[in-house]
């Protein structure tokens, strides 16, 4: 994105920083949308968040850049990865498969409409350009000091409301993550597994066809090898004829 007009208006390091960070941001965003595995999408999201943190530094928002890295990539994305790993849902998704007919085309058209609308709104002058009374970004003092002063004077009430929001979120997460019934966690059933697989253990019985399952679970087959299993086939034949 670092065209000649950018370099003309800005110094070369600034333009270069913006260009690299913008490429990382857009590439990561495409990765989030297009990666098949949720883990890869989360890592692409990390790239985008880091790029935005770089842009925050570039725009004199040093505190927000640090918070961006700590909160977003340090907490939120890790939370995503925890859920992905915990639930084992890192199932790959066929991104290019269409479930509803034409869903992708409609989504793309809607996205382009959103982009056009945002750009059109941005081109018209919605801002008056007047400086606010809450605090100036320029001037002496660090960014953290100015942000803190604004947060604890002009924006004190929203800040306190934020704490209530966090409490509600914590309580909500606890309620949602609780087990639905009040029974204690049942211990895992102990299944007696023979150390040496016996002759009647059919490892493929669970995934076999109905004929295999009907043959192997018969009570009169105690020590069946494959030829015996084949020889005992005729006595099950009346039961198997309706299933086929």
């Amino acid at each position: 994105m670092g065209g000649a007009t950018v370099v003309a208006a800005a110094t070369v390091p600034d333009a270069l920083t913006f260009a690299i960070a913008a490429v990382i941001c857009v590439g990561g965003a495409f990765g989030v949308v297009l990666m098949r595995s949720p883990v890869h999408a989360a890592l692409s999201l990390v790239a985008t968040l880091f790029g935005i943190a770089v842009l925050f530094v570039e725009e004199d928002a040093q505190f927000l850049a640090a918070v961006q890295v700590i909160v977003y990539t340090g907490a939120i994305v890790v939370l995503f990865l925890f859920v992905i790993m915990l639930l084992g849902v890192d199932r790959k998704e066929r991104v290019l498969a269409d479930v509803f007919k034409g869903q992708r085309v409609v989504a793309l058209v809607l996205g382009l409409m959103v982009l056009a609308e945002v750009v059109l709104l941005g081109r018209s002058r919605w801002t008056t350009g007047a400086h606010s009374a809450t605090g100036s970004l320029e001037g002496s003092g660090s960014n953290v000091a100015k942000l803190g002063r604004a947060l604890f004077t002009a924006y004190l009430v929203p800040f306190e409301v934020t704490s209530a929001l966090l409490i509600v979120a914590v309580v909500g997460a606890v309620v949602l993550a609780r087990r639905p019934d009040h029974r204690p966690v049942e211990p895992i059933e102990e299944v007696e597994v023979p150390l040496v697989p016996g002759p009647d253990d059919d490892p493929f019985g669970a995934v076999g066809t109905d004929e295999d399952a009907g043959g192997s679970t018969a009570p009169d087959e105690t020590a069946s090898t494959v030829p015996e299993h084949a020889s005992s086939e005729p006595e099950h034949e009346p039961a198997e004829v309706p299933s086929t």
């Binding site: 950018v6 208006a9 600034d14 913006f18 941001c25 857009v26 965003a29 495409f30 989030v32 949308v33 949720p38 999408a41 989360a42 999201l45 935005i52 842009l55 570039e58 725009e59 004199d60 928002a61 927000l64 918070v67 961006q68 909160v71 977003y72 939120i76 995503f80 859920v83 849902v89 998704e93 869903q103 992708r104 409609v106 989504a107 809607l110 996205g111 959103v114 982009l115 945002v118 750009v119 941005g122 801002t127 350009g129 007047a130 400086h131 606010s132 100036s136 970004l137 942000l147 002009a154 934020t162 966090l166 509600v168 979120a169 914590v170 909500g172 997460a173 309620v175 949602l176 993550a177």
Partner: protein, 101 residues
């Protein structure tokens, strides 16, 4: 002098659009959540850009609040997702049709 604000706004619009299209296209609930985060970050970039362009600290304070709301949203959303997945339904938003009550 830094890069002009319109470039930042264009980038933010692009990121927002990519996030919106991803939200519409993807069916994995977690990836949809990530797309929402993408859109929130695009909005944050716009806030910071206007804070610099208008010389106002209020934009950065707004980003602070957006960060808090995003964190709360992710906590509750992932709690809902865990509660859904505990019922062994599946990984996509189409599998969560029992939410209609």
């Amino acid at each position: 002098m830094s890069v002009h604000a319109s470039w930042y706004l264009t980038l933010a619009a692009l990121l927002f659009t990519i996030g919106a299209v991803g939200l519409l296209v993807r069916r994995n609930v977690l990836v949809m959540f990530m797309c929402v985060e993408l859109m929130l970050n695009a909005a944050n970039l716009t806030f910071v850009t206007f804070a610099r362009a208008l010389d106002d600290i209020g934009g950065q304070v707004a980003v602070f609040f957006v960060l808090v709301v995003a964190a709360a949203e992710v906590v509750v959303g992932l709690g809902i997702i865990v509660a859904i997945f505990r019922r062994k339904v599946g990984a996509t938003a189409d599998d969560a049709h029992m939410l209609k009550g």
